[in-house]
């Protein structure tokens, strides 16, 4: 190795953020741990609901039941994904490796959010046709997909922040849902009501309040998480 000094460019926000997204995707392509765990868990939740509720054919296709079961499934599976995603950073001290990089900490936060969102949307995309077959409901509704994306953004935005806090504790697996579920209730309410409204075919004037609720909470949670992430990850 020669003795010339390596001149370090100041890494940009975008370059650092996409480096984290690339790293998460590459690692998941190899291990498939996160997506397979989320998917299997979500599938089991759907099947358990199918038998536990013992619904008659008329009730099981009711929009309120469909959106309720879907969002309970997404919420639980999402927790597994968030926990696993941050545990990967903690296991070999990699979170310290990220924090040692001379980049804006918000680039780390948004990089992790995008990675987690991609995994969550991927699992949701796989679950939609499976749910459609098991429950005999057509879920290929653009409005429902739009609501699912909006709800997932808010869930992952606040979930990534809380997962990065929980992962630094000994009880990280238990702590995340305890912290996360009360905070995401507005998102879940908006997502369930909005999904039900789209499945019922209600006019847009009745659906907009739920879309607005989701957009507002997405923006508020993302902004708050962006502002406090630096303090949360530091001792």
């Amino acid at each position: 190795m020669d003795n010339r000094p390596v001149l370090v460019d100041r890494p940009t926000f975008w370059r650092a953020m996409w480096a984290i997204v690339w790293k998460d995707m590459a690692a998941e392509l190899r291990s498939r741990e996160l997506i397979s765990a989320m998917f299997v868990f979500a599938l089991l939740v759907i099947i358990i609901f199918n038998f536990a509720l013992d619904l008659d054919p008329g009730t099981r296709t009711a929009p309120s039941i469909t959106s309720g079961v879907l969002w309970v499934t997404f919420t639980f599976a999402g927790t597994i994904g968030l926990n696993r995603s941050m545990a990967t950073e903690k296991d070999r001290g990699c979170l310290d490796g990220l924090l040692l990089a001379p980049v804006d900490r918000s680039a780390i936060y948004f990089g992790k959010v995008i990675g987690n969102l991609v995994f969550m949307l991927l699992v949701e995309a796989i679950l939609f046709p499976i749910y459609s077959i098991l429950y005999n409901v057509n879920l290929f509704n653009p409005g429902l997909i739009f609501i699912t994306i909006l709800g997932s953004i808010g869930y992952v935005a606040v979930g990534t922040l809380l997962a990065s806090m929980a992962v630094q504790t000994r009880t990280r697996d238990v702590l995340l849902p305890i912290l996360l579920f009360p905070i995401v209730i507005p998102i879940i309410i908006g997502a369930v009501k909005g999904s039900t409204a789209f499945l019922q075919g209600l006019p847009m004037s009745e659906i907009w309040p739920y879309i607005n609720l989701l957009i507002v909470f997405d923006v508020v949670y993302t902004t708050l998480a962006f502002l406090v992430f630096d303090y949360i990850v530091e001792e």
């Binding site: 070999r92 310290d96 990089a101 980049v103």
Partner: protein
């Protein structure tokens, strides 16, 4: 290169570092010795900008912590007893990721240089989770020198390594040191420390209780020096 004045670090009611003063000149290799719980890792984490001082002044490479942490991080390489590497990425991908996070130019060429330095060129495409502990630690050093930092911090880098792996690690550490970097290394292994360092400081109960240059003391006297230093503190 490193200047610490009246550093205090408290965790709740527990004071870990008490008015600690510490200075390192450019190019020095300082071994920081001390018993478990002396505050060595906490001190190194503050120097690495991973933890905030409660009180006192800390300057690394002329920049003040925590205010100018980003500038410090660009000039800092850290190796701990954890590798800070992703098991599901290969050696080359790990270095590529950290290279992007640090904005290292001509990254592919630099990765090849670093893999040569740590003797892992033949394993560049192997997943890190298939590496032995010793190989992971060598790659961790490669990660830490990738951006050619002026200051390097090693937190017990020999932990968990067998004799052969320690010897290989020592060769890499010496090669890193001869490039004129400033190095601070915590260690319990007095024999290895005496072989590597140019100065020895003893940290006990949160303060530096003794300091000596290698030139002022034979390497075979390090154990006596260490025992004397701790003896004075413990009465």
């Amino acid at each position: 290169m490193i200047e610490v004045k009246k550093l205090v670090k408290r965790f709740g009611l527990k004071t870990v570092l008490r008015n600690l003063d510490f200075q390192v000149q450019s190019g020095e290799f300082v071994a920081l010795l001390g018993p478990n719980g002396a505050g060595k890792t906490t001190f190194l984490r503050i120097l690495a900008s991973l933890s905030r001082p409660t009180m006192g002044e800390v300057r690394v490479a002329g920049y003040r912590l925590p205010d100018q942490a980003s500038a410090v991080r660009r000039r800092l390489g850290v190796v701990s007893h954890l590798p800070l590497l992703y098991g599901d990425l290969c050696a080359e991908e790990n270095l590529a990721f950290y290279g992007r996070m640090y904005g290292v130019p001509e990254l592919n060429q630099r990765i090849s240089e670093v893999l040569d330095l740590v003797g892992l060129s033949a394993r560049r495409r192997d997943l890190v989770r298939t590496f032995s502990r010793g190989m992971q630690q060598r790659l961790a050093i490669g990660r830490a020198v990738l951006h050619d930092p002026e200051v390097m911090l090693f937190d017990e880098p020999h932990t968990g390594l067998d004799q052969d792996a320690c010897a290989m690690l020592d060769r890499v550490l010496k090669e890193v040191a001869v490039r004129g970097r400033t190095v601070v290394m915590t260690s319990h292994d007095l024999a290895r420390a005496s072989d590597l360092a140019s100065r020895f400081d003893v940290l006990s109960r949160g303060v530096i209780v003794a300091s000596v240059q290698q030139t002022e003391m034979g390497t075979d006297r390090l154990l006596d020096f260490y025992k004397d230093a701790l003896g004075k503190v413990n009465g």
